[in-house]
Amino acid sequence: MSIFEYNGSALVAMVGKNCFAIASDRRLGVQLQTVATDFQRVFKIHDRLYIGLSGLATDAQTMYQKLVFRHKLYQLREERDMKPQTFASLVSALLYEKRFGPFFCQPVIAGLGDNDEPFICTMDCLGAKELAKDFVVSGTASESLYGACESMYKPDMEPEELFETISQALLSSVDRDCLSGWGGYVLLVYAALLTPTEVQEKILKGRMD
């Protein structure tokens, strides 16, 4: 079994109209055994930037701690939050530093950039960035997720529709993957004209097996 499949994970991020959604499964496993069904894979960097880390759970936790550390330093020096594009470059650099002894995690980054423009990207464990305009996926269920997202995605979806789409794509994909699942966690960030950025977090109940 590959080291990326040791814990099991599924992550997806999608772009809508002035909004983005990032979703993950909730299973923490050790190969065939399920250890927990409330594991967190999507982390907040700041109000308008989230990162999901799939792959080996220990490296996801270590990467998250390193990234929070670097972002806090950035905030102290620059007195502002990092833009998603900048953050993506930071993650890529941190991963490539360990080129010959890498962190076994694949990040999915989602955020709102300048002019409330949604930004998503993914990268492999060595930091090769993959920018996308529609959706990005990662984890053991990635192949199923590609198929589900490709068929369900439409450009410029409103927040409610985007939430529905990403939830259905996630649940139907993890049902085909034994290493991920046990529910879902969806986070939707919506930038409206006059109101501050709205964040919605929901737990999904899927097939609990």
Binding site: N7, V35, A36, A57, T58, Q61, T62
Partner: protein, 204 residues
């Protein structure tokens, strides 16, 4: 094979572990205590390679004590868990420790908590957990019979059922177990479950 398991109840947490020290086919002793009392309100149940287990848990214990001496207040359970994970994670790509850990503690204001820390430094806060071959039996028993806010009697009954299941169904089942409890009164040994008593060594 080594079994460590535990659960969180109403105002307390329990960690139980087998007490066999084994080398290949030889049982060195059947009363090896694998649940360390870290400080007044913390338990550290550890399983894995014997040298690493003793070395690493003593290292954590001494550092927890050092923090208390330096700062005058004890570490919280969450802080201890994160420190332990940090040590395992740092050592992971240099000279890894092969130790799986269940850390249980009681903090004033927060109550009881338990952390699952893998040998590769995966950390997660849990209500019930188990390591080793025994986990295949214990986790299913606990999934079926555990509910939040169990009383001590109910929890010990569940622990005993897990021990009976391990003894019945595991081919090289360890004969003896130690059960330790931590609640607001502190961390202490609760009971031993022995099916084979070690012969007394007469003092010459």
């Amino acid at each position: 094979m080594e079994c460590v398991f535990g659960l969180v109840g109403k105002g307390f947490a329990i960690v139980a572990a087998d007490t066999s020290a084994v080398n290949s086919i030889l049982v060195h002793k059947s009363n090896e205590d694998k649940v360390m009392v870290l400080d007044s309100h913390k338990l550290l149940g550890a399983s894995g390679e014997p040298g690493d287990r003793v070395q690493f848990t003593e290292y954590i214990q001494k550092n927890v004590h050092l923090y208390q001496f330096r700062n005058g207040i004890p570490l919280t359970t969450a802080a201890t868990a994160n420190f332990t994970r940090g040590e395992l994670a740092t050592a992971l790509r240099k000279n890894p420790y092969s130790v799986n850990i269940l850390l249980a503690g009681y903090d004033k204001g927060v109550g009881p908590s338990m952390y699952y820390i893998d040998y590769i430094a995966t950390m997660h806060k849990i209500e019930k957990g188990a390591f080793g071959y025994g986990s295949y039996f214990c986790l299913s028993m606990m999934d079926r019979l555990y509910h939040p806010d169990m009383s001590i009697e109910e929890a010990i009954e569940l622990i005993d059922k897990c021990i009976i299941e391990i003894r019945t169904r595991l081919v090289v089942a360890p004969p003896n177990f130690v059960i330790k409890i931590v609640d607001e009164d502190g961390a202490r040994e609760y009971a031993w479950r022995e099916s084979i008593k070690s012969p007394d060594v007469s003092m010459a």
